[in-house]
């Protein structure tokens, strides 16, 4: 077990675990956001629960933050290591002949997502922290829907949102299957998994974009 995070396969495995965790989180985040399209009440209830239940606030949320920090820190470390593994580059390299654009540009799609996360945290998460802990306001279990609608009125925010989710889709189009391969799952289910991967990696980001556009134009 010792030094597993120093070995190539150990790092690959840890990268995949953090990615799988992020993908589960993303699904859960989507499930709550999409409620806002159907029912103001349901969205408020779900948001209030997530925002106040202690296990979410003090266990899952810190794990999520550490998970994201681990994922992108390890992503950058591996990228630097991998670049060092080839000192002289090819005069001519035909990468598209044998691999997808997505697979070759994980670091760039990842960094763009990271940029979005910073904006997103500053806008929404920081606001939550202010309201709840730093400058406590009277508890209002119905504020979430209004805040969401207001958030999506800005064309700039919606624009950033759309761009970020396009890059998230590109990141996941390689990442989804890659994560399973990394944890050693390559078997008779791999083909079916590729189908699920397409649905997830395009469907979920498209869903987030739909929610943003819906609230932008519906109110």
């Amino acid at each position: 077990m010792s030094g597993i995070l120093n070995s190539s396969i150990g790092r690959k495995f840890a990268m995949a675990l953090s990615a799988l965790f992020l993908m589960v989180f993303l699904l859960q985040h989507f499930a709550i956001n999409i409620l806002s399209v159907f029912s103001e009440n349901a969205f408020n209830e779900a948001s209030h629960f997530m925002g106040t239940f202690w296990a979410v606030q003090f266990i899952l949320q810190p794990i999520l933050i550490l998970g994201i920090i681990f994922h992108f820190t390890m992503g950058i470390i591996l990228e630097i290591q991998n670049r060092k593994a080839r000192k002289v580059s090819y005069a001519k390299n035909n990468g598209s002949a044998n691999s997808s654009w997505m697979s070759r540009n994980m670091i760039w799609t990842g960094l763009i997502i990271e940029g979005f996360l910073v904006v997103h945290m500053a806008n929404i998460w920081w606001h939550e922290m202010m309201v709840k802990y730093i400058d406590p306001q009277p508890v209002d279990a119905t504020r979430y829907y209004e805040e969401l609608v207001e958030h999506f009125q800005s064309p700039v925010i919606v624009g950033i949102y759309v761009v970020a989710f396009v890059f998230l889709a590109l990141h996941l189009m390689h990442g989804f299957n890659s994560a399973f391969q990394s944890i050693g799952a390559n078997n008779k289910y791999t083909k079916a998994l590729k189908g699920i991967s397409k649905v997830y990696s395009i469907g979920i980001p498209a869903g987030f974009v739909f929610i943003a556009l819906y609230h932008h134009f519906a109110h």
């Binding site: 090819y90 005069a91 001519k92 035909n94 002949a97 044998n98 997808s100 391969q181 050693g184 799952a185």
Partner: protein, 248 residues
Amino acid sequence: MNLTLKIWRQKNANAKGKMVDYQISNVSPDMSFLEMLDVLNTELIEKGEEPVSFDHDCREGICGSCSLYINGEAHGPDRLVTTCQLHMRKFKDGDTIYIEPWRAKAFPVIKDLIVDRSAFDRVQHAGGFISVNTSGNTQDANAIPIEKANADKAFDAATCIGCGACVASCKNSSAMLFVSAKVSQFALLPQGQVEATDRVMNMVNQMDAEGFGNCTNTGACEVECPKGISLENIARMNREYLKASFKG
């Protein structure tokens, strides 16, 4: 066919190399790629110039000696062939062809297009074997029944010729396809079980020590591998490695 060749020339391991242009005419589409280089070298020798050094041996796709990064792909544009099996009919009259050595920190250039692939030997020495007592009372290997599916997969893994095209093609210069083939050919057979834990740990540690990069599953290696070694082997090696790490 008349062709323009852009070839990496480098005097020795320490020299600074560069791409040099050569014109070659009357190339027959039936020639193999290496024969075309033989013709070029004959012309260079006649002109009193230094011929281009490149690796080759069997010229029938089984030894793993030949290499060359041709027009941006290991072993050239054809699939499931080594450079010695690549034919000039894959190119057109007037083409410009880039010919470069494998590029990886773990495969330093020795001269022109020849690289030092002894890193692979060291990985192999670290665990790519089984220890069998051959003192006269060995059991006939065929006496141990092996499931057909596993025997086939082990054999497929064993067809790896150690050419290094996987490393050369990988954007991370990762050697995982090679190492995973060598791990898999034993991991799938009962004879390989005795040393399974040490084998995968030692081979992966050696692979890392040689300075190969980290796999990000782009799949470039599988596409460019002349023997069609499957990514399934890398997943198997990951499993074997994780199993071994948790054991001890």
